[in-house]
C-alpha cells in the first residue's frame, strides 16, 4: 500500500539491562500528512523514532517505508530511503556558516561544489519559503533559524519524510508560528511530517492525525479534528494512579521559603524562569510538575545559588539569600539535591569524600585540615540510616549501584536536617525498591517539619507525595493547588500549556 509513508508493526525494544522501552507498538503514517506523536517523558516517543531513523535496532517488529520493507543498519540507510530527522540538539558545526554546514552534509553523499550547494539551497528556500541566511555563522543565528537550517539540510538530502523531535521546545512563540507555516508548506509539497511533542495545543493545531504513547504502548490513534485537548490529556496521562503510600494529613507551619518574581536565564542566555513566585511552608511538600525543559532546573539552581538570579528575590526564613554563594546557602539551611549524579557526585572519589562534598567546611579543623575521623563518622551514619550498600567507606563511588549512589546524594543532605530541601528528580533511574525508599523518606521528613520543594517529571511521584502542586510550563507557574483540585486531565492540559481555571 503505497499510501502509507511509514508502517511500523509490532515494535518492541528491550534494552540489555532489562528495561522495556516499547511494547508492541504499531505506528502508521499516511503519505503527505502531518502526524503527531504524543506522550510524556519516557513514554517511548524518541525511542520509536530513533528506531525509524536507524539509530537503534528494534528487538522485534517490522518497518515499511513507502511500502518497502526495510532494515536499517544506521542513519545513512534511513537517509537513503528519504527519512530526515531533526533533533532537539542540532548536528551543526557552530563556527561554520550555514552554507558550509550544508556542503558538509551533502559532500558525504555525492560530489558537489559550493556553488552547486548554494544553487540547490536557494531553490528549496524559494519553493518552501524557508528564510535561511546562507552566509551567516550558525552560532550567530537564533535557535529558530538554526532549526530551519536543519530542516533545509534534510530537504537537500531529498527527504520525503521529516521527523521533528520536540521542535518547539527551543522556540519562541513567533518562531513556532514560522515553523508551522513551513510545515504546512511542506505538506502542500507532498512531504510527510512526524511531529513529536508533549504540547497538546500544538498537536491540535498542526497535526492531521495523532498517535498517543504511554509507557511504551499505543493508547490511541485518532484524527486530530475528532479529539479534544481533554481527550488527548486523558490518553496521555490517565491511568490508575494508586496512592500506595499512606501518609498523614500535612500540617504546614509558617512560611519558610518565599520566592518573589524570580527571573533566571538558561545556558543559552534565554529566559528560562519568567517571574515565578510561590511560598513554601514548614512541613509541606510542594511538587513542581512539568515536562522536562520548562525551567525547573534553572529554578532549582537559582534557589541553591548555583545560577545567577536576574530579577526577583529568594527569602529564607525572612533572610534574603538571593545570589549568595552556595556554601552559605547550605549553611543557612537550604539543601539542593541535583537531578544528575554527574553534578552531585564525583564518582572517582570514595564514599566518604562524596558524603562531605557539599559541606566540606564543617569537616575542617584548624588551618584547613580535613577531619577524616569526623567525616568517617558522618558517612557511617549516612550509610546506616539510609541502608546504603557498599563494600566499605573508602570504596570509590563509581562502584556503587545507581540506587545507592542516589541514596548517598540524598542522604548526605537530609541527615543534617535542613530547613528546606529542593529535590530534583530524586528517584530518577532508580529501581522500584529504591524509589519506594526515597519517597517514604521524603514524607517522613515532611512529617518532621522539613519544607520540601519536589521537582519531578514523574506525575506519579508528584501526585503521591505533594501536599500542594504547582504546574510549570515555559518558565511560568500555570496553576497552584491541592492535588484534589486537579483532575488528571487538568494536569495533563496544564503541563501541555493549556490554561484552565
Amino acid at each position: 500500500m503505497s499510501e502509507l509513508a511509514i508502517e511500523m508493526k509490532g515494535i518492541w525494544k528491550v534494552y540489555p539491562d532489562g528495561t522495556v522501552a516499547l511494547r508492541g507498538v504499531d505506528f502508521t503514517v499516511r503519505k503527505g500528512e502531518i502526524h503527531g506523536l504524543l506522550g510524556e517523558n519516557g513514554a517511548g516517543k524518541t525511542t520509536l523514532m530513533r528506531i525509524l531513523y536507524g539509530e537503534i535496532k528494534p528487538s522485534k517488529g517490522t518497518i515499511r517505508v513507502f511500502g518497502k520493507k526495510v532494515s536499517f543498519r544506521g542513519p545513512w540507510d534511513a537517509i537513503r530511503e528519504g527519512i530526515g530527522m531533526v533533533y532537539q540538539h542540532f548536528s551543526l558545526v557552530p563556527s561554520f556558516t550555514v552554507l558550509e554546514n550544508l556542503f558538509l552534509s551533502l559532500s558525504t553523499l555525492e560530489k558537489v561544489t559550493m556553488s552547486e550547494v548554494r544553487r540547490r539551497a536557494e531553490k528549496i528556500i524559494e519553493t518552501v519559503g524557508l528564510k535561511v541566511p546562507l552566509d551567516a555563522k550558525v552560532e550567530d543565528l537564533a535557535v529558530g533559524v538554526q532549526q530551519r537550517v536543519e530542516i533545509l539540510k534534510t530537504l537537500m538530502r531529498n527527504a520525503k519524510i521529516l521527523i521533528l523531535d520536540e521542535p518547539t521546545s527551543v522556540l519562541t512563540p513567533v518562531e513556532v508560528e514560522e515553523l508551522f507555516k513551513t510545515l504546512r508548506k511542506l505538506k502542500d509539497l507532498g512531504i510527510t511530517v512526524v511531529f513529536i511533542s508533549h504540547k497538546l495545543k500544538e498537536i491540535k493545531r498542526i497535526t492531521d492525525r495523532v498517535t498517543v504513547l504511554r509507557k511504551g504502548k499505543v493508547v490511541g490513534v485518532a484524527e486530530t479534528k475528532d479529539v479534544t485537548e481533554v481527550d488527548l490529556a486523558r490518553m496521555m496521562v490517565g491511568r490508575e494512579v494508586v496512592f500506595e503510600l499512606k501518609k498523614r494529613e500535612a500540617k504546614p507551619g509558617e512560611v519558610v521559603l518565599l520566592v518573589k518574581d524570580l527571573w533566571v536565564k538558561d545556558d543559552r542566555g534565554l529566559d528560562a524562569v519568567k517571574g515565578i513566585s510561590f511560598e513554601l511552608r514548614r512541613g509541606e511538600i510542594l511538587g513542581i510538575a512539568g515536562v522536562q525543559g520548562n525551567g525547573q532546573r534553572e529554578l532549582a539552581e537559582a534557589l541553591a545559588g548555583l545560577r545567577p538570579v536576574v530579577k526577583g528575590r529568594v527569602i529564607l526564613e525572612g533572610e534574603d539569600i538571593t545570589n549568595l554563594p552556595p556554601y552559605l546557602i547550605y549553611r543557612k539551611g537550604l539543601s539542593y539535591i541535583p537531578d544528575s549524579r554527574s553534578v552531585g557526585l564525583i564518582l572517582e572519589l570514595n564514599v566518604i569524600s562524596n558524603s562531605i562534598l557539599t559541606r566540606l567546611k564543617s569537616f575542617l579543623g584548624r588551618s584547613g585540615r580535613i577531619l577524616w575521623g569526623k567525616a568517617r563518622e558522618f558517612t557511617s551514619s549516612v550509610i546506616k540510616k539510609f541502608n546504603v550498600i557498599t563494600e566499605s567507606l573508602t570504596t570509590p563511588m563509581k562502584y556503587l549501584s545507581g540506587g545507592n549512589q542516589q541514596k548517598v546524594m540524598v542522604g548526605r543532605e537530609v541527615i543534617v536536617r535542613p530547613k528546606v530541601i529542593i529535590a530534583s528528580e530524586p528517584t530518577h533511574g532508580l529501581d522500584v525498591s529504591a524509589t519506594e525508599y526515597i519517597r517514604r523518606l521524603l514524607i517522613n521528613l515532611r512529617d518532621e517539619g522539613v519544607a520540601i520543594l519536589l521537582i519531578s517529571t514523574d506525575l506519579d511521584e508528584i501526585l503521591q507525595l505533594s501536599d500542594r502542586i504547582a504546574v510549570i510550563y515555559e518558565g511560568k507557574i500555570m496553576a497552584v493547588g491541592k492535588p484534589e483540585e486537579f483532575t488528571l486531565e487538568k494536569l495533563g492540559l496544564l503541563m501541555g500549556g493549556v490554561k484552565v481555571d
Binding site: L306, P326, P338, V343, L360, I370, E391, P396
Partner: protein
C-alpha cells in the same frame, strides 16, 4: 597510611595499574635491548648493567632519586587539577639559582632552601595565571620559560657568579649552608633523601588531608561537581601549579645545597631532570608514594646507563630513550583499559 591507601582500591584497579606499568616497562626494556643488539652490543650484559648498575652506590642512587622525586611532584600535582606542568626544568633551575645566591649572601641553609622553593612557586603561579587569565596554553609558556631560565642561569653563572679558582663552576655554597651527609649503620647517605621523603609526606598530607588538596582533586575530576560543591576550580588550578613549581624549586635547591654545592656552567647536574620528573610522575600513577618508587627506578636506569657506558662503551642515552618509550607507552591508558575490558567481556560471554 598504607592500609588506607590499599583499602579503597579494588582488585581490578590494581590489575589495571600493574598491567599498565609492567607493560610499559616491558616495552621499554624490550626496545632498549633491541637497540643495544642493533648497535652491536651484548644486549644481555647491557640490560643487566642498565638495570643493575645503579645498585652499586646506594647513596648516589637515592640522592639522584631525590631530585626527580621533587620534579615528579611538580608534574603530578598540577595534573590532578588538570594542568600539564612541563616547566619543571625551568622551575628547578631557578630554584637552584636562587637558593645558591641566598646561601652565598646569607649563609642560612633554611632560608636558602625556602627561597628556592618560593622562586619555583612564583614561576608556577605565573604559568598558571597566564593560563587562567589569558588562556595561554601552559605547555608553551612552560617551554619558553624553561629555555629562558636555562640561558639566564648559564649567563649569570658564567659572568657574575663564577668561582675565580674554577671558572666553569659557580661560587661554592658556604659550608654552613649545606645539607650534609649522615651515617646510617655503616652506610653513608645524603641528608636530602630523607628530607625529600618528609616532603613527599607533606605533599601527600596537603593533597589528601586539606581543603586545598580536596579542591584540587575535585576540580580536576569534575569541575561541574566542584562548582556545585562550592569549590573554585580556577583557584585550584593556580594553587596546584604554584605547589608544583614549589617542589621543583626545592628540587633545584636540594641539588645545589645538598649534593653538588655549586652550579656548573653547563648545568649538567640539573639538566633533564625536569623531564625525568614527568616520566616519574606517570609511572608513579600520580601518587606521592608511587613517585617515591618510580623515582628510585628511574634513578636506577640513569645510573645503570652510566655504568653501561663505562663498561661497554654503549651510550648512556639508551637509558633516556628507554624512559621516552616508557612515557609513550604510558600515554595509552585507554588502550590497556580496552584490553582489560575486552578480556572481561570475553569471559562473561564465552
Amino acid at each position: 597510611m598504607i592500609k588506607s591507601l590499599i583499602r579503597g582500591w579494588r582488585f581490578s584497579e590494581y590489575l589495571t595499574v600493574a598491567i599498565e606499568v609492567s607493560g610499559s616497562i616491558a616495552a621499554g626494556v624490550g626496545i632498549a635491548a633491541l637497540m643495544l643488539y642493533l648497535l652491536g652490543f651484548d644486549p644481555g650484559r647491557g640490560m643487566a648493567l642498565l638495570l643493575g648498575g645503579g645498585l652499586t652506590d646506594p647513596d648516589y642512587l637515592l640522592s639522584r632519586a631525590t631530585f626527580i622525586m621533587m620534579t615528579g611532584l611538580a608534574f603530578s600535582i598540577p595534573l590532578l587539577a588538570g594542568l600539564f606542568n612541563i616547566g619543571g626544568e625551568g622551575q628547578m633551575y631557578l630554584g637552584g639559582l636562587v637558593s645558591l645566591l641566598t646561601a652565598i649572601y646569607t649563609g642560612n641553609l633554611l632560608l636558602a632552601l625556602l627561597a628556592g622553593g618560593i622562586a619555583g612557586f612564583a614561576l608556577g603561579l605565573l604559568i598558571a595565571s597566564l593560563r587562567v587569565c589569558r588562556g595561554v596554553n601552559e605547555v608553551i609558556t612552560a617551554i619558553m620559560l624553561n629555555w629562558t631560565l636555562y640561558y639566564i642561569t648559564i649567563y649569570l653563572i658564567t659572568n657574575t657568579f663564577y668561582d675565580p679558582l674554577a671558572p666553569h663552576e659557580s661560587i661554592k655554597v658556604p659550608p654552613q649552608a649545606r645539607f650534609g651527609i649522615m651515617m646510617l649503620g655503616g652506610f653513608k647517605l645524603h641528608v636530602i633523601f630523607p628530607i625529600a621523603l618528609i616532603l613527599i609526606g607533606l605533599s601527600y598530607y596537603i593533597l589528601y588531608h586539606t581543603r586545598l588538596g580536596f579542591e584540587i582533586r575535585a576540580s580536576g575530576l569534575s569541575p561541574k561537581a566542584a562548582k556545585y560543591a562550592g569549590l573554585n576550580p580556577k583557584k585550584a588550578m593556580l594553587y596546584s601549579m604554584g605547589l608544583g613549581g614549589f617542589f621543583a624549586g626545592l628540587g633545584g635547591a636540594f641539588n645545589v645545597l645538598g649534593f653538588t654545592y655549586y652550579i656548573d656552567t653547563l648545568l649538567t647536574t640539573m639538566f633533564g631532570m625536569g623531564f625525568d620528573g614527568i616520566g616519574v610522575a606517570l609511572m608513579g600513577r600520580n601518587h606521592p608514594i608511587g613517585i617515591v618508587f618510580s623515582s628510585i627506578f628511574f634513578s636506577m636506569l640513569i645510573l645503570g646507563g652510566q655504568s653501561m657506558q663505562m663498561e661497554l662503551n654503549a651510550p648512556k642515552e639508551v637509558a633516556d630513550a628507554l624512559s621516552g618509550i616508557i612515557i609513550i607507552a604510558l600515554a595509552l591508558p585507554q588502550a590497556y583499559r580496552m584490553v582489560i575490558s575486552y578480556i572481561r567481556t570475553k569471559r562473561m560471554i564465552g
